[in-house]
Symmetry: C2
Subunit: 268 residues, 2 copies
DNA sequence: CGAAATCTTGAGTATAATCAAAAACGGTGG
DNA sequence: CCACCGTTTTTGATTATACTCAAGATTTCG
């Protein structure tokens, strides 16, 4: 009952006046929100125009920075244009759990629109480009265009669904499957936004970070990765992950993408 | 990589024409939705009237029944009036993870309003009384009264927040804290709906079910509970849980209720 | 009251954590 | 282009936590 206290590497805050560019979406294509929403339903011209007029602030943030922190009360949410972010919680003993990983097109803290006080921190896993959008303006948008509101609501529900799957993954699967599962999920989501070339994608997470996501020690992550390599299920060099045989990999991972609620974009 | 296959006790489906009563909320007080929403913001008379006019079907369901099942496409959601339900997933090896537990006042499958295909099953942990509400009608309600829509959205966001905390709890805390944490959460939520008398509440979960929720074996749950008992942190007989010293318990559990996003109802 | 479910205890084992150190890698500046 | 430094990955050895299996005690419920 006296958990070992582990120091975390300090993450720098991105607080302070970040250098950013004020603009509306129309100056920058593709608008990731339009793209995401169109994958759900056909936007009317009016809806599209409203989205293009959204005033946003675009910023680039380096690796290992926090974008928002637990306890804050942000007045804006952000969408991820490029890079990877992760949502995490730090518990009393100083350990850290990554509870979500975000890929381009995601809106990681949309929840802050309705839950003013953040109960998690969100930081970058790589250099990121993000656009901030004021809650006030998003709320007007949702009220004026209920279908957009419903689609954003849906987005938050999918995030919840992913969170439940993580709970099941980390709670019930053995180490090797657990790692395989998270790799399958990320690959699948990256494919949905056209970030998989052939069977190769980039996953900028260290083994320690994979451990924080799966509730395993970094050493054990390493050994599980080696099992997967030895079985010919993955090829992993640096950040490049290749999954040569998708169906063999999903079998080991016990991966069924239904929980992602995407229209399947078949692999291979 | 060959996980032991464990048979699950078959849960009976509640499919088929359940005996239920058609009515509107106004015939039955208190309307749990009104109560829940009023804990978030002051409802206008008009909003209250609209909610009272909601046509609903009230049903009683015995213990150990599934209310909805993974893969189904429900056309209605339900609110829990009395009893406990749990949301769970069954993974390939046959193991089961409970990903959420619901107490009276919760709306466990509100998500099916926007994610048509269920990716989880929801079953009862005790005899339950539930009210079903057609999605169609809920959608109209949300569109006509945007504040109600926002409040329901908020409810789903809180559920997501709880799910993240479970991921962190199960991933990073040692067994005893893990069990203590889930007991704190349930007690806290029950207190919010006035179901704690003194320091005692009813939690109708078996040790095996606590294990499925925390990713631990039933045997280990038993031993952790005994640790808590030995430390004088809980008194547990049957389904009755007493937490004599709340602050000592929260210290062991590393429990901070911020993630529940409730206005604190102080214990003691 | 009896059967089934649940809880409890014990013994042996497996998975994964910890600790420690070496090797490989990646980026930087000279 | 290369040497250097910090980070990350890898390996080995040991330990701890938690699982499995099994059987007995207790409780619950019909």
């Amino acid at each position: 009952m006296s958990p070992t206290r582990r120091r975390l590497a300090e993450t720098k805050s991105s607080a302070g006046p970040a250098t950013h560019i004020e603009m509306t979406f129309s100056h920058r294509l593709p608008n990731p929100i339009i793209r995401k929403l169109e994958s759900i339903f056909a936007l009317s011209d009016e809806e599209k125009a409203a989205l293009s007029r959204l005033p946003v602030q675009i910023t680039t943030i380096g690796r290992g920075q926090d974008i928002v922190r637990e306890g804050e009360r942000p007045t804006r949410s952000f969408a991820l244009l490029d890079g990877f972010t992760h949502t995490y919680k730090v518990i009393g003993s100083g350990k850290r759990q990554i509870v979500a990983v975000h890929v381009p097109g995601d809106i990681p803290d949309l929840q802050s629109m309705h839950l003013p006080r953040l109960d998690v921190s969100i930081g970058t896993l790589a250099r990121c480009e993000v656009v901030f959008m004021q809650h006030q303006i998003l709320r007007q948008l949702c009220q004026q265009y209920p279908r957009i509101g419903a689609a954003l609501w849906r987005e938050t529900l999918i995030e919840a669904s992913v969170s439940r799957e993580w709970t099941a993954n980390n709670g019930q699967r053995p180490g090797t499957s657990r790692i395989a599962h998270i790799l399958c999920e990320l690959t699948f989501r990256l494919r949905a936004v056209d970030l998989v070339e052939g069977n190769v994608c980039t996953i900028p997470m260290t083994q320690a970070e994979l451990g924080d996501a799966t509730g395993m020690s970094a050493v054990h992550v390493n050994r599980c990765l080696q099992d997967l390599r030895a079985g010919g299920l993955i090829r992993l060099t640096g950040n490049h992950l290749e999954i040569p045989d998708w169906s063999a990999m999903t079998a080991v991972a016990d991966f069924d993408p239904a929980y992602l609620h995407l229209r399947d974009k078949a692999p291979e």
